[in-house]
């Protein structure tokens, strides 16, 4: 089990006390109604397509994941050992809920699911991911995305 309270005290404190950026603004974009939302996933689980470049320590770039990537072609190359991987190995939806999103789109709960999704490797200062994230925003818009689901690991 890898609940925060179950990992060793030193690592737990390090995770909890991890330096986080502080912002002096509160950006807020009003989302469309859910049936009009085209949703993309942005993960920090170090996910990649099999055959793509694995993440390395300190990586600040991201990988593009085609929404129709088959389970067996999705790989997690996150360098951290401080989280559970057994759940993901059984069902990628524990951290990349593509099947659940597709079901919601089929039912009309959301408008659609993006063609492309994105994955960073967490364990990196968010400020170092700012430039690639802003660049990624253009790709999301080009895909027609108007709602982003951010998923940590």
């Amino acid at each position: 089990m890898t609940r925060l309270e179950d990992i060793d005290a030193l690592m737990r404190e390090e995770l909890i006390e991890l330096e986080c950026p502080e912002f002096d603004n509160d950006p807020w974009v009003r989302a469309p109604a859910l049936p009009e939302c085209r949703v993309a996933v942005v993960s920090t689980a170090g996910l990649q397509r099999r055959g793509d470049r694995p993440f390395e320590w300190g990586a600040t770039d991201y990988r593009v994941i085609l929404g129709e990537t088959a389970t067996e072609d999705l790989v997690m190359s996150h360098v951290s050992t401080n989280f559970d991987r057994a759940g993901y190995q059984q069902d990628m939806n524990v951290c990349f809920p593509i099947d659940r999103l597709n079901e919601l789109a089929e039912e009309g709960v959301i408008e659609s699911v993006a063609k492309y999704h994105y994955a960073f490797q967490g364990s990196t200062a968010p400020e170092e991911m700012e430039a690639p994230t802003r660049q990624m925003a253009g790709l999301l818009k080009a895909d027609g995305v108007n709602a982003v689901l951010l998923v940590p690991i």
């Binding site: 991890l18 807020w28 974009v29 859910l34 939302c37 939806n93 659940r100």
Partner: protein
């Protein structure tokens, strides 16, 4: 994760997110976040539990409707 939300919102994209470490979200103040008490590595909960994953996903997406 909260930092990415800031950057994307500043670029004009609405975001919602799951939070696994509540303190991090309290520090970064993303516009919308659902804190879940699940294991690290399982932000949508148990594997192969479709109804449960759906509840978590819907709770997260419904935050987009907050005014």
């Amino acid at each position: 994760m909260g930092g990415l939300a800031h950057y994307l919102e500043e670029e004009g994209l609405a975001t919602t997110q799951i939070s696994l470490i509540r303190l991090h979200s309290e520090k970064t103040r993303p516009p919308r976040a659902l804190w879940v008490p699940f294991e690290l590595g399982r932000p949508f909960g148990p594997p192969n539990d479709v109804p449960f994953q759906r509840r978590v996903l819907m709770a997260t997406l419904e935050l987009l409707q907050a005014k």
